[in-house]
Symmetry: C2
Subunit: 148 residues, 2 copies
């Protein structure tokens, strides 16, 4: 997986080349999780102003194929994060806060479901949606809760 000293190792083990753009994208993914392609673009631009959004998408797609990156859809745009560990997500419907949750029991459940239906090569994604304490509090006061 990704390691702070050897972020790039993953790529080096493939036919893909390690360009400065890709290294920057991997670094951006280390800093924050659940990032939008556009957010990643902004962050990468800090180091490499000329990088295009197209390159971000192409690279993220490669990283996902290799298994270095995990994607998860929320609110129109896809969210990307480094595939450090297997986890699921708890999302606030109001402010879109995203919390990682371990839920290790899901893996076994998914496997059992898959076997029942003769599916192989299984993966599972659980998304729990609700309202965080802060947003629930604001809602009680009748205030708008949209935003971060």
């Amino acid at each position: 997986m990704i390691d702070s000293k050897g972020v790039d190792a993953g790529l080096l083990q493939t036919r893909y080349r390690l360009t400065k753009q890709r290294a920057a994208i991997l670094r951006a993914l280390e800093d924050g999780a659940h990032l939008t392609a556009e957010t990643i673009h902004e962050r990468v631009r800090a180091a490499l102003p000329a990088v295009s959004l197209g390159t971000i998408y192409r690279t993220l797609d490669i990283l996902r194929a290799i298994g270095l990156v995990q994607v998860f859809a929320h609110g129109g745009a896809a969210r990307y994060e480094a595939a450090l560990d297997k986890h699921h997500h708890l999302v606030c419907a109001s402010c879109s806060e995203i919390v990682n949750i371990p839920a290790p029991q899901i893996a076994a459940l998914a496997l059992s479901i898959a076997q029942d239906h003769r599916y192989s090569g299984v993966d599972a994604a659980l998304v729990v949606t609700g309202r965080c304490a802060r947003c629930a509090g604001l809602a009680r006061n009748g205030a708008s809760t949209t935003g971060g």
Copy 2:
């Protein structure tokens, strides 16, 4: 919820009007599950040739807000289905077959996770991805598995 004799009851209990377009959309949703907006459009057109895609989207959005319809994203386009019961999905990564799975234990797990993080009004969606037996078999023979 939706009943074969009273599909429309849900709408009638709201401020929304029951138009022939909406009735047709509800009926299309009874027939098949996991439908794309475009598929629903085609089906509705059989009865009402002039219906526009825009109306399909507007209606589906209302039905979701009321709770008559459940959405679930897969492969670019959103999939819609009547909210008859709470269930989850098993999806074949090759042919995109979608199987409904009950997994009642998820609700309790989601609730417990939500409580841990002081979230309220919780809902959970589990998507299990894998390769169905047929696609796995075809893959073994080196044939293309896309489609179906």
